[in-house]
Subunit: 142 residues, 4 copies
Amino acid sequence: MLDKSNPFHVTSTRVRFAETDAMGIVHHASYLLYFEIGRVELIRQTGASYTDPEASGYSLAVGDIRIRYIASAHFDQQLTVRTQAANTRSRSVTFVYEIVDATTGQILVTGNSKLIYVDHNGTVSHIPERWIEAIRPFDTSE
Amino acid sequence: MLDKSNPFHVTSTRVRFAETDAMGIVHHASYLLYFEIGRVELIRQTGASYTDPEASGYSLAVGDIRIRYIASAHFDQQLTVRTQAANTRSRSVTFVYEIVDATTGQILVTGNSKLIYVDHNGTVSHIPERWIEAIRPFDTSE
Amino acid sequence: MLDKSNPFHVTSTRVRFAETDAMGIVHHASYLLYFEIGRVELIRQTGASYTDPEASGYSLAVGDIRIRYIASAHFDQQLTVRTQAANTRSRSVTFVYEIVDATTGQILVTGNSKLIYVDHNGTVSHIPERWIEAIRPFDTSE
Amino acid sequence: MLDKSNPFHVTSTRVRFAETDAMGIVHHASYLLYFEIGRVELIRQTGASYTDPEASGYSLAVGDIRIRYIASAHFDQQLTVRTQAANTRSRSVTFVYEIVDATTGQILVTGNSKLIYVDHNGTVSHIPERWIEAIRPFDTSE
């Protein structure tokens, strides 16, 4: 759960038509793309770049995801993506998300994902200290 | 967890290039599409049709998802999708999945998703009895 | 070809990781999503809403697409989407697109798509006059 | 246009729910994924592997696409993908596609795409002779 008594990152996205499905609502897999936007933008705000590890031969691999669907989003809806770090470790970091309607603030989807720092061979590695320092202000468990 | 001492449905899919990402592996959101293939094919095998509820004004909405990533899949890899029902209730059913390499049998990703039976207004409804009967043989909790 | 001597709509989007593929670049199908953003935002700017026809039982169906790939886009790249109408008819409208690097202005992809106005049964219909009026300022062929 | 008086490759795919959109039909971008399946399977049948160039540091980059939408496909529809080579040159090859309903044979979408052989730096290169030899039987322009 996102802890609102602690800092969290806020960004926004608008639902694309391609993200909907034949039920007339946003396809459930599309929310993983919104989560991805959330953590990329959180990391950008820290001054680190999500692309840094890729340039340097390291990446954040997704290890675990949990998603809870509360209400449907629709085409063209303006969404707010709230992102927070929950458990920054030496080799992994967990992000917590809330997707809410930008106008009403209604929570649509919540979730979290554990990201693991790996090199190009998939070997788990230490997250650089400057990354950890950058993410820490958004980490509610500190 | 998929319970191998009970029946489970098996289908296969091959990784498309569009499902990969710049890390050179399958993008983590793509596995939700493989899960979807698994439950659609499980329901088809029961003789019911996944499209039935849509034709009749009812749908299976995703309520909750859990995914655990163990190893990466790659472009063109032949995958086996194992699907089982875990908890068939009057208004919801939980599916459990394993995505494995079709050749080696290595488990790549596991997960589960709770599906809720809703009408076109999103009102939670009773799953038709014939559906429940059809899914039950794949339900390990019976 | 986009005609720069006439008005065109400008919006922007940033490449998501999910839009890349194992070649390390944006997957070629992702540009259709950027085109879609372009025409949705052009129509929004006219004061009409892309969702109007859906609410009213009418939709814009894609009839024809042409895409030309000039240079690759990469994860996290900030893109500018330029959109223009080229041939507004009573039942169809053609949009023309340029996807350019937001910083350098380098043209990455160009394309056009013909959209046809259809009702829910797929029957081709007349575009409402107020839509045509709204799109016309962006139509270079007028 | 696919030339039926010459050999063409045939494969099949079933529409996934994730490939539909809120118009209740297959999203227009999804057909590019079906085209991709067609050319990957055509190349596989030649005995060459689509992954070969990637393993060797070369790739087929999409240079140009044309798509014509004739009728809508729907969730769960079984599709036949017909693929043919149309113009095999030393550095590029054009594939031609037809997506048809597997049961009725109705043509839903046609298209073509020009693929260019490039190395990892995006430099246009010569297609290996064994690839050209393999594709040639499917090339109607020979």
